[in-house]
């Protein structure tokens, strides 16, 4: 009744090609942003911000990165964790070498280091495809994690082998380190994620995105119509790794506060892959939904026995947690292999005809 485009006439190409051609969607996104930027910081407490909102946003960014590669360019990568690590470590190096520079600059620059590494490990994608490529990208995962542990220069010869985030201030407000409040960190992360999502949504609508999708659907045909495989695939790896790198830097600097090698291991890569597939590959909004679902589900499951008054040991809860998450993933893949984004789309279609479906 409220959600239909009747009467919204497009009189120029500009309006026709808008990100949200339906007015209700455009209004909806502004309302959502207003809620995220104003209502959430005012109402949510530290626990909610720190253990739900901030990680969900960071993982969404990483999931968008992987989604650009997997869902749009069709190249499977299992090395996201490693690329996030590259971002985190290079951000750490940059900010310790130049302590006076505004911390946002190292965070955004560290993505470029990750992009360079991503291009390097993306080169095999020119010859290797499908599962062969997926496993080949594990080379980057294992090599990078090994390098983080072995190259002492990366963590400034810290005896604990971990990187600890120093306090950095913008306009005398601590934004990283132990003194930063969760609200400041949340707002900064949110801004970066919003900007990068906007960039991504325009990338995939434009020439680059279309070239990626052509390669995803059939790379020989794409080559025949004049898309340069080398450039396009490597661009996909570069941009995807850029997102992963920034997400990694944010994860360590704005959320964890310290990180060891284990923070970037293979399980991490699988976690992000799950977010993409459960959320819906080839959909940006799906990345957010997938990240929220995969991140919040275990938290919810862990606290569920308390709510209904069951007394279960912590270890048992953890085991049941694993079982339920595994079973739910299978269930989800069976029910909707195209991910939550597809459900969302179906819901919207239904809503347009509601309450008089024909």
């Amino acid at each position: 009744m409220f959600y239909r485009e009747t009467g919204q006439f497009k009189t120029s190409y500009r309006t026709d090609q808008a990100v949200f051609p339906i007015k209700q969607d455009a209004i909806g996104i502004w309302v959502l942003l207003a809620i995220l930027f104003i209502v959430v910081p005012l109402t949510f407490n530290d626990f909610w911000l720190n253990s739900i909102m901030i990680p969900t946003l960071i993982f969404s960014l990483a999931a968008i990165g992987l989604n650009l590669l997997l869902g749009y360019a069709g190249q499977i990568s299992l090395g996201t964790g490693g690329f996030m690590g590259v971002g985190a470590y290079s951000c750490y190096k940059l900010t310790t070498i130049f302590p006076d520079v505004n911390i946002l600059i190292p965070i955004l620059l560290s993505g470029f280091v990750a992009a360079a590494v991503g291009v390097l490990f993306g080169i095999p994608s020119l010859r290797i495809k499908g599962f062969y490529l997926a496993i080949a990208t594990l080379a980057s995962q294992f090599f990078l994690v090994w390098a983080f542990g072995r190259i002492e220069w990366l963590y400034n010869y810290n005896p604990s082998g971990a990187i600890e985030v120093p306090t950095r201030r913008i306009f005398d407000i601590a934004v990283t380190g132990p003194h930063a409040t969760s609200m400041t960190r949340y707002l900064i992360i949110l801004s970066i994620v919003v900007v990068l999502t906007w960039v991504a949504s325009n990338l995939v609508r434009g020439r680059i995105g279309r070239a990626w999708m052509a390669i995803r659907d059939m790379d020989i045909a794409a080559e025949l119509i004049g898309i340069k495989l080398l450039q396009t695939k490597l661009t996909a790896f570069a941009i995807s790794s850029y997102y992963a790198g920034v997400a990694g830097a944010l994860m360590v600097f704005m959320w964890l506060g310290a990180a060891e090698v284990e923070s970037f291991d293979i399980n991490h890569s699988f976690l992000i892959l799950f977010m993409v597939v459960i959320g819906g590959s080839g959909s940006l909004i799906g990345s957010f939904m997938g990240a929220a679902f995969i991140w919040v589900l275990p938290i919810f499951l862990r606290s569920a026995p308390d709510y209904i008054g069951l007394e279960i040991g912590a270890a048992t809860v953890e085991h049941i947690n694993f079982m339920v998450v595994g079973a739910l993933i299978i269930f989800f893949l069976i029910v909707e292999p195209n991910g939550i984004a597809r459900l969302w789309q179906i819901g919207k279609e239904k809503l347009r005809r509601w309450p008089f479906p024909y």
């Binding site: 010859r127 594990l138 294992f142 090599f143 597939v277 270890a315 079982m323 339920v324």
Partner: protein
């Protein structure tokens, strides 16, 4: 027409030869250069000193090769499980690693419950059948004809489920494999070899023999039995197999069961060398470079790939590892596999990937 098609191929062949020549010349230059630069330089440490060490202590070299062979056998077994399932159902089964743990744990668990060793072994085999049947019924059947990536994710989901389920039933603490009770030997043979001595664990020899027997049985099963023929038909073409009256579902259960038995064997062998714990499931990651090196669809590929990876990883770790701080075993196999894939994108023995418009 033949002229025009032949010319570029001839040209590329000579280019290939030139590449080899250049590589060989570079290598020779590096060796000569490092000899000139002398001991202590990085080039010397990489290109000369490991080989000198091989010549100086051949017994160590043989020992390292043996260790590699043993590890390679286990990788080959793991890879075999992957390949069996991938061939027959097109599923890249990430759960193979946890199936290894699950098989070993159920064997130990049955024995701990007071059941005799041989009976526990049979019960664990039955357990693997139940697992195969359930997986087919609950996971594979509803997901038939889905994108391979979706099926891959589903097997990761299965892995999570089995981790939780296994810990729920058997507990998370490491257990000792009942090596002697099921008749596996222990101890080692040592013998002198060119001035040093080499020691071979009896258990490792048994592992190699059992692996060989298992592979032999599988080969006979695939080539001589009716079910085996059906399996090969399914692996070749699902639709053609269906159209001549082969039941896919049944075949999938059989193939997952076969992979389960392979997993159980791997679990026993690996568990006997270390503990039986959930950490074992990461050995699945060890098998991945093996199968891409050998080719995802090739059983001989898995075996030869396993041996190549096993030996080269141990050699690299032993002779070049100390240069960069050790434990390079985690990534060297992947780079070796990458090197092979660069020249053969379908692996050594995989079906040639043909792209058509």
């Amino acid at each position: 027409m033949s002229d025009t098609t032949l010319k570029p191929s001839r040209a590329s062949m000579s280019a290939g030869k030139r590449n080899w020549l250049v590589t060989a010349a570079l290598f020779a230059a590096a060796v000569v250069g490092s000899l000139v630069v002398g001991e202590g330089s990085l080039v010397y440490e990489i290109f000369v000193s490991p080989f000198l060490f091989v010549v100086e202590a051949p017994d160590l070299f043989v020992q390292v090769i043996w260790e590699g062979l043993v590890a390679g056998t286990l990788y080959a077994l793991l890879g075999l499980g992957f390949v069996l399932i991938f061939k027959a159902s097109g599923v890249f089964n990430f759960a193979q690693g946890i199936m290894v743990v699950f098989g070993a744990l159920s064997l130990v668990g049955f024995y701990a419950a007071g059941i005799p060793a041989i009976l526990s072994l049979l019960l664990s085999i039955a357990m693997m059948y139940v697992l195969a049947w359930t997986v087919e019924r609950v996971v594979l059947r509803p997901l038939v004809n889905q994108d391979p990536l979706i099926l891959f994710m589903a097997t990761i989901g299965l892995t999570y489920f089995l981790i939780g389920f296994g810990e729920f039933i058997f507990g998370g603490e490491p257990k000792t494999m009942i090596t002697e009770e099921i008749g596996l030997p222990s101890g080692s043979y040592s013998f002198d070899f060119m001035g040093g001595f080499v020691s071979l664990q009896k258990l490792d020899i048994a592992a190699a023999v059992i692996a060989a027997i298992l592979v032999g049985c599988l080969a006979v099963f695939f080539n001589k039995t009716k079910v085996g023929r059906a399996l090969r038909a399914v692996a070749d073409d699902h639709q053609a197999a269906l159209s001549v009256g082969i039941t896919l579902r049944q075949i999938w259960v059989i193939v997952w069961f076969a992979a389960g038995i392979v997993a159980l064997t791997t679990g026993i062998m690996w568990g006997a060398r270390s503990d039986v714990s959930f950490a074992l499931q990461i050995v699945a990651l060890k098998a991945l470079p093996v199968i891409i090196l050998g080719g995802l669809t090739s059983i001989p590929g898995a075996i030869i790939g396993g041996l190549i990876i096993g030996i080269s990883e141990k050699l690299a770790e032993f002779y070049w590892g100390p240069l960069v701080g050790g434990s390079i075993e985690s990534w060297v196999p992947y780079f070796i596999a990458l090197g092979f894939l660069w020249f053969r994108p379908q692996g050594l023995f995989g079906e040639k990937i043909i792209d058509r418009i």
